[in-house]
Amino acid sequence: MTTETTLLAPPAEPEPERRDPKRRSNRVQDTRVDRVFMVGVYILLTTFLLIVLVPLVNIVASSFSSPAAVSGGRVFLWPVDFTLIGYKAVLTSDAILTGFGNSLFYAIVGTLVSVALTVMIAYPLSRSELVGRKVLIGGVLFTMLFSGGLIPTYMVVRALGLLDTRWAIILPAAIGAWQVLIAMTFFRSSIPGELYEAAQLDGASDLRFLWSVVLPLSKPLLAVIALMYGIGQWNSYFSALIYLRSEELYPLQLVLRNVLIVNNTGGTNLADQMAAEQMADLMKFSLIVVSTVPVLLVYPFVARHFTKGVMLGSVKG
């Protein structure tokens, strides 16, 4: 243990952009053992890559195939009898378009509300002048350890008369304790105290300072938490399942669940397949692709920022 402890690195701050620290030492020729080891590493990673990739490619390939080919299970990694009728059917379905619109609304409005509320609590909590700060932070963090539970929360939503309204999707999960923690850590570590002193000398109020100095300096943070809230909202179906009754309010995920999962238990296997059923099979694949496109559009942007977000969160406050 003694040799290991001397080698134990201090819990350094993660620096994602830094170059590979081993770059220099790696210039030395690998020994044979190391070469064999590296072959193993590449095989392992390639296998993992394929395991993740193949199902995704299969779904996309199927979505561009003909109903008969999909129903017959003839599609693997390339479309069979290429056609767009699956997409045409999906994009002319009223339930799906309504769901799509609702989800956009929930994602956009929900994200605005969530980001605003998160900044409103995280910024004051990052300031040491605030009396009672420790208690409030404790109160926020405790909700990560213990939550009221399904029924008790449902009762609050019902008592407020929010059942079957759009607010039931946005309000009950408006603030995430994790996002508050990330934002707080960011404000504390990235906004220098000197800036505040300078602003104070210029006679700027706290709000003015937050609006004109802190927020412009916090764009990466705002991007991270907005994406977290936005994608979370886009992907969730649970609150809609418990709080909504009217189908015209359903978000896309709940529509998808009803179309894709409820009428399909994976159990029955009829010998006779009607054309309508074949079409239904194909539509499922196209539907999966269509509903994932908005997330994939922001993905390159998201991947970079989410990586930062994970690291922001991993720095202890």
Partner: protein
């Protein structure tokens, strides 16, 4: 004389202490104003639901309300444990999360260590981009993909399983439910979970690698003596979090993967609470079951954190 002085001093002290809040309020009233809405959120949607848990000890009825309903003591807990289903639910929940932990905990670490060895930037980037992606796909879509891919008629995986002589209709098989649940989770989250370890690896002091190289350490030995001790604190924190959440198996995925055929293994505490509470409207029983779950969870988390702090010196707080 001295007593009067003491009194006056104490009064001054009290005044000064009260003055601290008063002064802070006067000078930074805007910070406190910002807090109003978020604090209201936490009270209404987090702390009032916690208080609502009191109905677990009452015979709740809508007419008399939460506080007016008659007390029932531990009747609902007894009712739950007297039901033979209770043991199945607890076993299903624990087995699902324990299996999930065994599979889901080491794989991201292995992935991060392997990625850290790779020098080819393009390959590394590709593996990272592709393996992060499933994290952003919604649960509904992942389950739909599973249903389609494992469908005996359509899916390519059922052909694959059939080729190896396995049951080709996995989703209807209660014995396969846990594996489907856990491994699809690994598929979805392993790449993303590796980010935090990649960050820890990037923070390791480069001179340690230099030293290891001078000592003629092979790559494997370098991983063992430098990489692993370097990410140990991160590993411990992630482990505490996941062991602490062992009873908190999410509702969303289990519920979607359920069908009448696999219910004997797929019914867990969270899905049972939903059915008892919202479908059968037995609020008190559902709340009791949910409360039992949250309390066990909280105790586990605190226990694991304490043990980890004693043994490794690392914990959540």
């Amino acid at each position: 004389m001295t007593a009067a002085l003491d009194n006056r001093a104490a009064a001054a002290l009290r005044k000064r202490r009260r003055g601290a809040l008063g002064r802070s309020l006067r000078r930074h009233w805007q910070l406190y104003a910002l807090l109003v809405l978020p604090v209201a959120y936490f009270v209404i949607f987090q702390y009032i639901p916690m208080a609502n848990n009191v109905i677990a000890f009452k015979d709740y009825n809508v007419v008399q309300g939460i506080w007016g309903s008659p007390w029932a003591g531990l009747d609902h807990f007894e009712r739950f444990f007297a039901n033979p289903v209770a043991l199945d639910l607890i076993r299903n929940t624990l087995m699902l999360s324990f299996y999930g932990f065994l599979a889901g905990f080491p794989i991201p670490i292995i992935l991060a260590l392997a990625l850290n060895e790779v020098r080819a930037r393009f390959f590394k980037r590709t593996v990272q981009m592709v393996t992060y992606a499933p994290h952003f796909i919604s649960t509904v879509i992942v389950v739909s993909m599973l249903i389609l891919i494992f469908s005996p008629r359509i899916g390519f995986m059922s052909d694959f399983l059939g080729f190896f002589g396995m049951n080709s209709n996995l989703l209807a098989d209660p014995d396969a439910f846990r594996s489907v649940y856990v491994w699809s989770d690994v598929w979805q989250t392993a790449g993303y979970s590796a980010i935090i370890y990649m960050a820890a690896l990037a923070g390791i002091d480069p001179s340690l690698y230099e030293a290891a190289r001078l000592d003629g350490a092979s790559r494997l030995r370098k991983i063992w003596h430098v990489d692993l001790p370097g990410i140990a604190p991160t590993v411990v924190v992630v482990m505490v979090l996941s062991v602490g959440n062992i009873m908190a198996v999410g509702f969303e995925k289990a519920f979607l993967l359920q069908n009448p055929l696999n219910l004997s293994t797929s019914e867990i505490i969270a899905t049972y609470t939903y059915k008892i509470g919202l479908l059968s409207a037995d609020f008190s029983l559902a709340t009791a079951v949910g409360l039992f779950n949250s309390v066990i969870n909280l105790i586990l988390l605190l226990a694991v954190n304490t043990v980890s702090k004693r043994v490794t010196g690392n914990g959540l707080w």
